[in-house]
């Protein structure tokens, strides 16, 4: 490790870094704008100037940009040198000449990097007497607000949007001091990662439009560490609350999972918590009044639960581990099901058993970024796991950069130079899917085929890598050629990554992905295998081996009590089947947070807490258990975590109501004992009695305002501060004032660093893991070097039934997820329902684009407009999955199509 001298003090630092990163890692305050740990250095803003001396005797030195200067053994630099300080002060003064007098009405104020850096350099009075430059703004869609006057031309937005995330519709226009960052014309930003501009932009040019509806400063938010609920990746978020409403979601850095970025579904999909449709009171149907208090509810439940009836519990893939396990304990393991269709449950079980076998390594998102060849087998990750798509993009870009850098001595953080060197080269990505995906633009090999063909190609790849595996009979030439190409590229890689998932409802595809990864896993080649799952906690239910609730139907009679946990069964099976199920349920207890079709059928409806009002644990697709913490206590109604309700029910059953409460950690300890596959999960969080120097960790910043006035309209005497018995966090601003352990960081803040850029004060090294290790406990680790058994059951090519189409879901980042679609902004971006067919199929059917057509699947008719999918293969019909108001379909079944006779008069 080289030694450098900063202001005459020696420091041991890491080689290969630049001086800015190094100074920040050492905890020094050095202002910067254009540099971002994930984007690298371009040396554009001239803000991070330091003085570099020739040697120890040199007193003059010269000014250099620390972000462009590599660490060299024995280098002498000065951060606090008067010349460098004056230089930085002048730079910021120039930047501020055109900055508008907007801070009071700017949403960035209070978490603004420009404010922080201006204060840090000491520039406080405006000397410039002349006029300010102004710009006209653009409409950028429902998610982001544009206020171009505030721009300081650091170029971070386009570097993130174009270079990092691959967006094409945000760019820089005009010249000299007129440069303009925006779209070619007004319109909705197309990239699903556009929300990150809010955090990437060091000032208030791009701000969160949903936050604007109920604006609160960062210092006024009661915040807690949370985990995103909108897909299976489990990105870490910070949820902020004020006046009983969730106000914003910001990224919570986790070096192993989401890093610095979130997708728009995760960032803007929080408003279901504040929805009018929330269930806040327990209801007992068919009595007057239906809304009851807790005592009457318990009396009623006591009757229901104790008369020696059979209990059937239906677990939920969007409820926490604790809630699902508490339900399982309440009803008994043999009566515990999950609320997904038979097919989906089988696929989940298969994926969990593959990953639990420990034969291959399942990577974190960070590890995926290091992959040097990627194969996506049939999963539309752009829509089902957007941040994974972003990681795959980084893998492709990083491996191209790594190749290019082999010939030169340029450091990898030299962003502009590396891009110049790489040009349009890409690392290897093979993307096999049903239809076109934005990932196709960066993939070397693209395949649009039926799930069967994709799976068969997968087996062919596995065979090409490991000749011991069975050969695919009668493989067509196109697939054979692609398989050979992909197999070759994967074999040349050191860290190949295979991605698949259940969204094609094809078991063979999942097996083929495993075979490929297993076959690649030899010697120094470390293959990675990642499966996407349908929901944020699908992994838990898959690991619990819960069967589909469709299997419970025959067991239900008048004497059974069915308990449904936090889910709408109408989203997993078609309405007719669901109705048949509900008709059998005479005693139905539903716990949920929002009214939906299932809650309407409930005899007893119990208000369950959402992620913002609950403590709980989720297990993401890599088997990483992560705790999310309660953000606030709702003041109205009787909203409680489901696991608390189940514990109360259990006390009723056993009549042991001794008032003892179980905390999330107690549930997890019990879970470990009951189901050994969850071993280690109880280490996911600190016990509720954890204190640092006797102090809890405050959810509120020390500048939190309005304590004695917020509730003064109700009663002028302030209520007692709320207690949190389930976590080491407190609901007040009092507590441990310094950096808490990594899994308990309620918000990022450091003295002088109010913006989210303060995360560098929480990391071991800039851009690395959080101090004390990244949060989360991995439950699925690789145990053996190579698999002992492969799947050899290659599916036979079955001829498609005549005039029938395979019905498959098309996922949409905005719309396919249940909870995020409650946000008005996300709903605006949801597509309209449609029926997607290939160009050739459409021509043969003789129907035109946009006309209504009718699809018949399993005896049910669905009429929607036709949307021709240019890249879709023949024989498949796509319908958007899970759109609000659209019924569930029997995915993977055969459907017939007819031009609709109705509504075609247009």
């Amino acid at each position: 490790m080289p030694t450098i001298y900063i202001d005459n003090k020696p420091y041991e630092v890491k080689a290969g870094k630049n001086l800015l990163e190094t100074c920040l890692t050492l905890g020094l305050d050095l202002p910067y704008f254009c540099w971002h740990p994930a984007l690298g250095s371009v040396g554009a803003c001239r803000q991070c100037a330091i003085t570099l001396f020739k040697d120890k005797e040199d007193t003059q030195g010269r000014i250099v940009m620390s972000c462009m200067e590599p660490v060299k053994e024995g280098a002498c630099i000065s951060v606090s040198n008067a010349t460098a300080k004056a230089f930085r002060g002048q730079v910021i003064e120039w930047l501020m000449t055109n900055h508008p007098h907007d801070c009071p009405v700017c949403d960035e104020g209070g978490c603004c990097h420009l404010q922080d850096m201006t204060v840090m350099t000491g520039h406080n009075y405006r000397r410039y007497q002349y006029k300010k430059r102004t710009y006209l703004n653009q409409y950028l869609g429902p998610l982001l607000n544009h206020e171009m006057n505030r721009c300081i031309q650091c170029y971070r937005c386009v570097r993130f949007y174009k270079d990092y995330a691959g967006g094409e519709d945000l760019n820089v226009f005009a010249a000299h001091h007129h440069v303009y960052f925006g779209r070619e014309k007004d319109g909705i930003l197309q990239s699903p990662f556009s929300g990150n501009l809010v955090e990437v932009c060091p000032t208030g040019v791009f701000t969160d439009k949903t936050l604007k509806q109920h604006y609160t400063r960062k210092w006024d938010l009661t915040a807690a560490p949370s985990v995103c609920q909108h897909c299976s990746l489990g990105c870490n978020t910070t949820a902020g609350e004020r006046y009983g409403k969730i106000r914003s979601i910001t990224n919570r850095y986790n070096g192993a999972v989401n890093g610095y970025f979130l997708c728009d579904r995760g960032r803007f999909g929080y408003e279901f918590v504040n929805d009018e449709n929330r269930i806040t009171q327990p209801l007992i149907r068919n009595r007057v009044p239906e809304a009851v208090d807790e005592q009457s509810l318990m009396d009623h439940l006591k009757l229901l639960l104790t008369q020696s009836r059979t209990l059937i519990g239906i677990g939920s893939s969007r409820a926490s581990v604790e809630s699902n396990f508490a339900l399982r304990q309440l009803v008994g393991s043999e009566n515990f099901y999950q609320g997904v269709s038979l097919d989906e449950a089988a696929l989940g079980k298969l994926i969990a058993s593959i990953l639990q076998s420990g034969a291959v390594h399942t990577p974190s998102l960070k590890e995926m970024e290091q992959a040097d060849a990627v194969l996506v087998l049939g999963e539309d990750i752009w829509n089902t796991a957007p941040i994974m798509a972003l990681s795959v993009r980084q893998a492709v870009m990083n491996s191209a950069a790594a190749n290019a850098l082999q010939q030169t001595s340029i450091a990898g953080w030299h962003d502009a130079a590396v891009r110049e060197l790489v040009q349009d080269n890409k690392g290897f990505l093979a993307n096999a899917g049903l239809t076109a995906s934005p990932l196709d633009d960066i993939s070397t090999c693209t395949l649009h085929a039926t799930p069967h063909d994709i799976a068969v190609m997968g087996f062919a790849i596995a065979h090409a890598i490991h000749p011991g595996l069975p050969e695919v009979p009668q493989l067509n030439n196109e697939l054979a050629a692609k398989a050979a190409q992909i197999a070759k590229a994967l074999q040349q890689a050191k860290r190949p990554l295979i991605i698949s998932g259940p969204s094609c409802y094809n078991e063979a595809m999942i097996k083929a992905a495993f075979d490929i990864a297993g076959a690649l896993n030899t010697g120094e080649r470390k293959a990675m295998l990642s499966y996407v799952l349908p929901a944020c906690n699908s992994m838990t239910l898959a690991m619990m081996q819960a069967p589909s609730f469709e299997k419970s139907i025959d067991r239900i009679n008048d004497n059974t009590v069915v308990i449904i946990l936090e889910q709408d069964l109408y989203r997993s099976i078609p309405p007719a089947k669901a109705n048949a199920f509900f008709n059998r349920c005479k005693n139905l207890i539903v716990l949920d947070s929002l009214h939906n079709g299932t809650t309407e059928k409930a005899q007893v409806l119990i208000p369950a807490a959402t992620m913002a009002e609950a403590d709980g644990t989720l297990i993401n697709n890599e088997g990483r258990a992560q705790r999310y913490y309660q953000v606030f206590v709702p003041t109205t109604g009787m909203v409680k975590e489901s696991w608390k309700w189940f514990w109360q029910m259990r006390s009723l059953q056993t009549s042991s109501g001794n008032g003892l409460e179980l905390h999330p950690n107690d549930w997890l300890t019990k879970l470990e004992k009951t189901l050994p596959q969850f071993n280690g999960i109880s280490r996911v969080s600190y016990p509720p009695e954890f204190r640092i120097h006797g102090q809890a960790i405050p959810r509120e910043p020390h500048r939190y305002s309005g304590r004695t006035a917020m509730l003064a309209n109700l009663a002028v005497s302030e209520p007692k501060p709320l207690q949190d018995n389930d976590s080491p966090l407190s609901f007040t601003m009092e507590g441990y004032p310094n950096r808490p352990p990594a899994s308990l960081i309620p918000f990022f803040w450091a003295p002088g660093w109010n913006s989210i850029q303060s995360v560098n004060k929480y990391q071991q090294e800039t851009g690395g893991a959080l101090s004390g290790g990244d949060p989360g406990i991995r439950l699925l680790e690789q145990k053996t070097g190579t698999p002992t058994a492969y799947f050899t059951d290659i599916p036979e090519a079955l001829p498609a039934p005549r005039n029938k189409w395979l019905l498959l879901p098309a996922y949409h980042i905005f719309g396919s997820d249940e909870l995020s679609a409650y946000s008005a902004a996300i709903r605006e971006l949801c597509p309209e329902p449609y029926i997607g067919l290939s160009t050739q199929d459409t021509a043969e059917l003789g129907i035109t684009d946009g006309k209504n057509i009718t699809l018949v699947a399993e005896g049910e008719e669905y009429t929607y407009p036709l949307k021709i999918q240019e890249h879709l293969c023949n024989g498949i019909v796509l319908l958007p999955a899970g759109l609000p108001g659209m019924p569930a379909l029997t995915w993977g079944s055969w459907a017939t199509i007819a031009p609709s006779l109705k509504n075609n008069a247009v």
Binding site: K132, A174, N713
Partner: protein, 171 residues
């Protein structure tokens, strides 16, 4: 001993001094305009609400007795949806006035706000808002700010150039 006598002598001399005590409330004291008494919210010269809901007063308040919620009208003009001061907690330090970037919140020379019920000391926006510019006439924040919220067009401010034409290539 000498000290005691001196003290008594000084007290005796006070009989002949001008009286500092006034007969309040019959006689009112004259307070300077900058006296820090009751808090009000003022309006700008054009009659619009000056408060832009920036939360700086609330953050500056050492007893945290100010709570508000910002909202926007159809032009994007930000104003407080509610603005509440709990005067039973207020210490009249004037930090809120110092923090206010728009001269909206001002402390005025009025201290007569005694109440029998503490609850009556909770003032809402309708109790605080006055139809006056207070101590700082002539200032309209939205004329100085860069945003266009219906008060002035982009580039129409005194200190602003016309908006950049991004298609213009002239130097």
């Amino acid at each position: 001993m000498i000290s005691h006598i001196r003290t008594m002598w000084l007290v005796f001399l006070h009989l002949f001094h001008k009286k500092a005590t006034i007969q309040y409330p019959e006689e009112k004291i004259r307070l300077r305009p900058r006296y820090k008494g009751r808090i009000v919210l003022t309006k700008d010269p054009d009659g619009g609400e000056r408060c832009v809901g920036c939360y700086l007063c609330a953050a500056a308040c050492p007893v945290d007795c100010i709570a508000l919620q910002a909202t926007e009208d159809e032009h994007g003009r930000r104003y407080p949806e509610f603005f509440r001061i709990n005067f039973s907690r207020c210490i009249f330090c004037g930090y809120c006035e110092e923090a206010c970037p728009t001269y909206a919140i001002q402390l005025i020379p009025d201290f007569e706000m005694a109440e029998f019920k503490r609850q009556n000391l909770v003032f809402e926006k309708e109790d605080l808002l006055i139809d006056s510019q207070g101590k700082y006439p002539g200032y309209n924040f939205y004329k100085a700010a860069g945003v266009n919220i219906g008060v002035k067009e982009k580039g129409a401010g005194d200190q602003e150039e016309r908006p950049v034409d991004i298609h213009d290539l002239l130097p």
